[in-house]
Symmetry: C2
Subunit: 119 residues, 2 copies
Amino acid sequence: MEKVNLEQKLSLFSEHWSPKIVGELNGQHVKLAKLKGEFIWHKHDHEDELFFVIKGSFKMEYRDRTVVINENEFLIVPKGVEHRPVAEEEVSIMLFEPASTLNTGDAESELTKHILDRI
Amino acid sequence: MEKVNLEQKLSLFSEHWSPKIVGELNGQHVKLAKLKGEFIWHKHDHEDELFFVIKGSFKMEYRDRTVVINENEFLIVPKGVEHRPVAEEEVSIMLFEPASTLNTGDAESELTKHILDRI
C-alpha cells in the first residue's frame, strides 16, 4: 500500500538482464530491469509478457519482424511466441508477467535467473 | 504483438473516470484512464489493483491515511482495502488489474462502467 518510485528503484542496481521484483498483485509480478546488448531467443509456453519502456529504447525481434519500443510505449509478447530483446544502448524497462515467468523462458542457460531480488 | 504508445492512446479520449482497455495478458487488463475530482469510496473483494501515474499526480485516500502518487510512481491497492482516488487536477494513469475488475468495486452506482471501450 506504499507507493513505488521507478527512478528510486532503478538507482538501486546497475546490472543488465537481471530483473528485480518491485510489486506483486493477483499472482503477477511487476519487475524492473536494465537491458543492454542482445539477449537470447526464447519463448514462454504459459505466460504472456508485457514490456514497458521507462527510459531509452530497444527492439524486440520476432522471427519474422522487429518492433522498436520507445519511452512510454509497451509491447505484449503472447505466450508461445519466440522473441529476443536487443538494446543497442542501455534501456530501463518495467515488466508485468505471472510470478511463474522465467526470464529465459524455454531456453535455460547461464543467463537464467531462478531467484530474483526484491528491491 | 504491436506496441502501444500511451500518449497516442490518451489523445483518443477526454472523459474522466472511464477506463479504456489498451492491452490484455494472462487474464489481466491494461487500462488507461483520466481522473479529475473525487471518486467514491469502494473496495474490490477479489482483485488487487495497480495505479501507475503517466502524467500529473493524484492522491489515494485510505480510511486511515492518504498517499500522493506522482509521475513514474505506482501504487498497489490490495483486495479488500477501501480506497478513494482524488485528483485536484487532471491526471492520466495506467491500471493493471484482473479483467473481472469493476471500476467501482463493491459500490455500484451511476459511476459504474460495466462495459469498457477498447482503444
